[in-house]
């Protein structure tokens, strides 16, 4: 996973700084305008966006060239997800990146087309039976119904394995996220995988959840940035009592609080993405970074969405306004790959097990 450049020398993952990030920013700006998507009566925009992302190699950014991907590196992949978050476009870019990362890490070739990943909740397990088939149920799998294949982390007697499974081979019951995106229940009933291989060293169900948690944190931070921009613009444009509401101290203080939540999410997610990009293994320090990012970005999502809606007033509650595209997604993302309560219990237990005297050295090591 180690990247060539030292983390402290880099411009940072907050901003789309690399060519990959710039490409993603251009494509999303051209083809994923939230206003246009919000008014669209069909999903023709979705196919075009996806194809353009795929043609640019962005959907397989985390797949090495040897496995048919773009080999862009972990940090660049997180830049793509920051941009995707800023547009809150309902396409399975994060899921496809994650699936590519998991499959290629296990040495499996990665098929073209949209992918997703299972399980997406930390308490669920898909079992590998002795006859080589997979059994189990994964709830709230994002975009399962839109994916052609699933990357599945399975638990077997010999340890974790990674399997590639055709969507047609599993039962998919449609469900919806808060924002109305596909969030499906996937049932594996003695399903034969297309390909399967032992998981790479250090990658298990916990590591997959950590990686998923950071992807959602990064997307959340991106979406919060847009929520702040939308809210600032609205506060300047909206006139009440004969002046822009941005002139009112009470509104200004809400804007400052929103900026604080956005800043916290950006920092926690950016730090975790950077940490994973230069990590050798998923140790306690990476666990702290990733869990903290998911916890703090989920808290920021909750506080931030509430403030953004408060400033927007009634118009922000309409389907016509784009605000809900961001607020409902960040609220929904809280629950993917472990919600903040899950990660807080895990993190609290780890910190407790290390003891009070080891706590500050752990924080200061980051």
């Amino acid at each position: 996973m180690r990247q060539q450049r030292g983390a402290h020398e880099r411009a940072g993952t907050n901003v789309a700084g690399s060519i990959v990030g710039e490409t993603a920013a251009r494509i999303f700006a051209d083809l994923a305008d939230p206003q246009i998507i919000n008014r669209a009566t069909d999903d023709a925009w979705s196919a075009k966006l996806w194809q353009t992302l795929a043609d640019a190699g962005l959907t397989l950014a985390w797949v090495p060239e040897a496995h048919g991907g773009a080999g862009a590196g972990i940090a660049e992949g997180f830049e793509i997800l920051t941009v995707a978050g800023r547009f809150a476009a309902p396409v399975p870019i994060a899921e496809t990146l994650l699936a590519g990362w998991l499959l290629s890490g296990a040495g499996l070739a990665v098929p073209a087309g949209p992918l997703t990943i299972a399980p997406a909740r930390p308490t669920e397990r898909i079992a590998l039976d002795r006859d080589g088939t997979l059994s189990g149920r994964a709830r709230a799998v994002p975009f399962a119904s839109a994916a052609e294949h699933l990357a599945v982390l399975v638990s077997g007697e010999a340890g974790p394995s990674v399997a590639l499974v055709a969507r047609k081979a599993v039962r998919v019951e449609r469900g919806e996220s808060l924002a109305g995106d596909a969030s499906d229940t996937v049932t594996f009933d003695r399903v034969a995988p297309l390909r399967i291989a032992p998981a790479p060293a250090g990658i298990d169900a916990g590591a997959l959840m950590l990686m998923g948690a950071v992807t959602r944190s990064v997307e959340t931070a991106g979406a919060l940035e847009t929520m702040l921009a939308l809210t600032l613009r609205y506060a300047e444009e909206r006139v009440a009592f004969e002046r822009p509401i941005a002139k009112f101290q009470a509104v200004q203080h809400n804007l400052a609080r929103l900026a604080g939540e956005v800043a916290a999410a950006m920092t926690a997610a950016g730090s975790a993405a950077d940490a994973i990009a230069s990590a050798e293994e998923f140790d306690d320090a990476i666990f702290l970074e990733a869990a903290a990012a998911k916890i703090r970005s989920a808290e920021a999502a909750q506080e931030g969405a509430a403030i953004a809606h408060q400033v927007h007033g009634a118009i922000g509650f309409t389907r016509e306004h784009v605000l809900h595209r961001f607020t409902l997604r960040v609220l929904g993302w809280r629950d993917d790959f472990g919600n903040e309560s899950h990660w807080a219990v895990e993190l609290g237990n780890r910190v407790a097990a290390r003891g009070g005297d080891a706590f500050w050295p752990l924080l200061a090591s980051r």
């Binding site: 402290h8 907050n14 702040l228 869990a291 808290e299 924080l363």
Partner: protein, 386 residues
């Protein structure tokens, strides 16, 4: 968006890690020698002249300043590491901390050369305590309402009036104060104030203690009765202090001391919960850990930007707003999470003593160094709201 927020994921360079180990070893030796008790932050006077001199001898005061003034020309990130380690250890740094953080940098920028050569090396040696003279009975957050007057006389200025909430004035050697040298103009109400370096031993200065609700003595009222300050102790432009006052604030706002003030109760809570906390405690602890980690990464990111020569005013203000709100709420959260501790818990008395102190201290954390209300106005302005 007028301002794009930026929080780069700064990582400390390797030289900081070596320095951190050196600081920890120094602090461990001081604790072992009985200089201070890290578990009893509310005890003692939190200043110790001999201790400050030993820190100065290590080169950890004014450490970023030029060598010709006694500094060590080390980076802001190295200073960051020293500051956070001293804070977490609850080491008594009150004597030199204001000079190190604020007064020294102002002198470096605005004092005459011979004044710098006289004062700065003594700060670096840990010999000098500084007090900030900003607030007055009629002007707190609104600095530009200051009325205490400096009147031009032959060879200098005569100061009359009073400053209030002056932390450390009773032990300070010097004050950096803001005094009115001209009335404000119609066009600019901030005009007419000048910064001065004032020797606290000057005749005509009286320091009256103001005891705090924690039982400690930190605040004072300083009364000036025709106190003389020589011309060469004026700092920067006469009547133009408003141009100078804001640029240092990024340093003051975003340091580790802006979220670590009550941090000891979190460490003590972890000790009290033991290695197998119940689910409620684990979740509460995990959230606090995530929040603390995020604040540290934000604060460090601002330090990195300052080191790179940037002026992250919005980011620094956000760190103070979030950091002080968090350290203020921390004792209340720790109190909740320790509600079901067994009465047999070994460090229960220590935790209770710390909580009592932190709960009292909490009230001031969102007031000192610029209230939350003022800060949020600044943040909104930085975000482009007028």
């Amino acid at each position: 968006m007028a301002t794009e927020l930026r929080f780069d994921p700064i990582r400390l360079p390797p030289e900081c890690e070596a320095l951190r180990q050196e600081v920890r070893a120094f602090l461990a030796a001081e604790i072992a020698a009985g200089t201070f008790d890290p578990d009893r932050p509310g005890h003692g006077d939190s200043h110790d002249r001999a201790f400050s001199r030993r820190i100065g001898a290590k080169g950890w005061i004014g450490m970023t300043w030029p060598k010709r003034y006694g500094g060590r020309e080390r980076s802001f990130l190295e200073r960051y590491v020293v500051t956070e380690e001293f804070r977490v250890a609850n080491a008594p740094v009150r004597l030199h901390f204001v000079a190190d953080r604020q007064s020294g940098p102002v002198l470096l920028k605005y004092a005459r050369e011979h004044v710098k050569l006289d004062i700065l090396p003594r700060i670096c040696r840990g010999e000098l305590c500084f007090v900030i003279g900003m607030s007055e009975p009629g002007s707190g957050s609104d600095l530009f309402a200051a009325k205490t007057k400096a009147t031009k006389v032959d060879g200098g200025w005569r100061i009359n009036g009073s400053k209030i909430w002056t932390s450390n004035a009773h032990i300070a050697d010097y004050m950096l104060g803001l005094f009115r040298t001209s009335p404000p103009t119609k066009e600019n109400r901030r005009h007419g104030l000048t910064q001065f370096l004032v020797d606290m031993k000057t005749p005509g200065i009286a320091v009256n203690p103001i005891y705090q609700m924690t039982g400690q003595h930190d605040f004072n009222e300083v009364v000036f009765d025709d106190a003389f300050v020589p011309d060469d102790h004026a700092l920067g432009e006469i009547d133009g202090a408003w141009k100078q006052a804001t640029s240092e604030l990024a340093y003051e706002r975003s340091g580790p001391e802006r979220y670590l003030e009550t941090f000891y109760v979190l460490i003590e809570l972890i000790r009290a919960l033991g290695d197998k906390p119940d689910t409620r405690s684990a979740e509460g602890l995990g959230r606090l850990v995530a929040q603390a980690h995020t604040l540290r990464r934000m604060s460090l990111s601002v330090a990195g930007m300052l080191q790179a020569g940037k002026e992250p005013v919005a980011e620094a203000s956000l760190v103070k707003d979030l950091g002080t709100a968090w350290e203020q709420k921390l004792p209340a959260r720790v109190r909740e999470l320790s509600a079901f501790l067994s009465s047999e818990t070994r460090n229960r008395a220590t935790l209770e003593e710390q909580l009592a102190f932190a709960t009292k201290v909490a009230a001031k954390l969102t007031i000192q160094g610029g209230t939350t209300e003022i800060l949020r106005g600044i943040i909104a302005r930085e975000l482009g709201m007028r």
